[in-house]
Symmetry: C2
Subunit: 336 residues, 2 copies
């Protein structure tokens, strides 16, 4: 991951971009991420279980919880949780740095919640009536492993669990923050967000889309949840309007860049590197940025979106956007 942290030559060449975050040059995303990802993994492992009263699935049938855990544990880049925690870090840096990595309880909950939504969407997307995929994160997909009915129910239960994560009744998290986070997540996951984008995606197979239509699809399909991750991290505290506006713009550009790069990797990477079936979009005659604008133009567009996202961070007025900057760079310059 460390190789991806260097700002790309393309971005450095931009005459209009001057990094303003202090200390960003020697920021190490690997180091920053490691402890936080460990917290996320531990929280998911601890809370997505039927075994102990602490587990939020306490009282649930063991087989369903097994499918849920299979879907969500030990997998993926955890980009969304990292975006939550990076935005929280940017907004609350002063408070949290005093105690080292003391990610507040609610930021950790928000990080897990967005990952649960992401995980459920993958389970349902992979099902035979959708993308009919058998490989995900290098493992058989959930319906291959547990059957279609269990996959359907595990996805459904993961979505509900996300909102349970956000609404602890232990008095530690202000209800106003809980309510705001639920609102952001519900909007991003629903018909005007992720599920809506999936529906457009399905309906557009084999159809010629304009760039504007393709962008709208991706803004919903993947962009909404990525942007919500950033905004949820910010709303774990009380950011000012300037910061919110900048973070919103960052989330939009970075979210779109993510999808452009996904389309690029679908044609340039192999299945082993991706951990999922490569070339799938082209095989399925799905419109992509590469099919629309070609490979080179898509790569240039991804770099342009990276610059946009970094400019947006400059405009937040926040001093500690290092983690968000490094994550945008990772999104665009990743190999899988």
């Amino acid at each position: 991951m460390s190789a991806m942290m260097t700002t790309t030559a393309d971005a450095q060449a931009s005459p209009t971009h001057t990094p303003s975050a202090p200390g960003s040059a020697d920021f190490d995303l690997d180091v920053w991420s490691r402890a936080r990802l460990q917290q996320v993994e531990q929280a998911l492992d601890r809370w997505v279980t039927a075994d102990v009263p602490l587990g939020l699935s306490h009282g649930a049938p063991a087989q369903l919880v097994e499918a849920m855990r299979y879907a969500v544990l030990d997998g993926g880049k955890r980009l969304r949780p990292l975006l939550v925690l990076a935005a929280h870090y940017a907004v609350c840096h002063g408070a949290s740095s005093a105690q080292g990595i003391s990610t507040q309880d609610i930021a950790l909950r928000a990080a897990c919640a967005v990952e649960l939504i992401h995980a459920y969407s993958l389970v349902h997307d992979d099902m035979p009536c959708m993308d009919n995929d058998v490989l995900r994160r290098g493992k058989p997909t959930v319906h291959v492993q547990f059957g279609q009915a269990s996959a359907l129910l595990a996805g459904d239960a993961l979505q509900a669990l996300a909102f349970e994560f956000l609404t602890p009744q232990d008095g530690k998290v202000p209800p106003s923050i809980q309510a705001r986070l639920c609102a952001l997540l519900a909007r991003a996951a629903g018909s005007a967000g992720m599920a809506g984008g999936q529906a457009i995606d399905l309906a557009s197979v084999g159809l010629p889309l304009t760039e504007s239509q393709l962008r709208q699809m991706h803004e919903l399909k993947t962009g909404a949840l990525l942007q919500a991750s950033v905004m949820m991290g910010a709303h774990c505290s009380t950011p000012n309007a300037q910061a919110l506006e900048g973070l919103q713009a960052y989330g939009a550009a970075m979210g779109l860049a993510f999808q452009v790069v996904d389309d690029i990797l679908d044609v340039t990477a192999d299945s082993t590197t991706l951990g999922k079936t490569a070339g799938k979009d082209a095989d399925n005659n799905k419109p992509t940025y590469v099919s629309l604008m070609g490979l080179q133009a898509s790569k240039a567009y991804a770099q342009q979106l990276l610059r946009q996202s970094l400019h947006a961070l400059d405009a937040t007025g926040l001093a500690h956007t290092e983690a968000l900057r490094a994550l945008a760079d990772m999104v665009v310059n990743r190999a899988h």
Copy 2:
């Protein structure tokens, strides 16, 4: 519906039950329900739409919203919304009766939210990988009408929309109530609730269950959301501990009664009356109360649960439990 409101001979014969709610003898559930159901229908029609900025699905693809509306509008008994509003009526009677039927904004939102969860569960349950049913509420099921992928996504989006209903950002609903309602709904819908019950149901086809195992399955599968409807209605205000405890017991008994009666109707009613395929459970070799204890004993058990639920209401200390009483009676003595 009016014929169902008369307390049954069986319940009247119980020497231990004395109705304590004032005015319950001349309470008319039909009259009470009509205006409230109209509000629920209007709210669902107004909010589940992509057409206007007011619609919560504004920005969503039209085809997906069409499938969502098909799943949720003009259908069903709306038992869960009525339970929400009846519990709210019991807890807040003084305040709301002053202005006639002025169901508070949040109670209406909660009523719609539980119905959205119920509607999504039906969409997913009917899919070929689950119950594979083609008829629901007298209409073709969603996957028959719109295709499996759209049914899957419409269900997913309906679940997210339920949490959006509960978290309006207009300042009219205290965040503490929003957070509490989200917590109750998420728990009732998830792995330790409805989705968990479905998973047990699937895993138990063809297996001999004990009465205790059957009850556990139904407590999760249908009981959890019915009970949550009651508790959400109560939590739209600030009920005392005695009221909460009684309402919880009412919800448990009434929720179980609902499923016992469902099992009875599956063998005694025809498809036209039910609006769904009758005899399905027996055909699918699913364990039911009727297959476990026989038809007559099941009917007696349903009446016993009705008496339990009415006793629980007596213990709430609330004066205006008429609507909840009448709904429990309707649940047990319904014809479909």
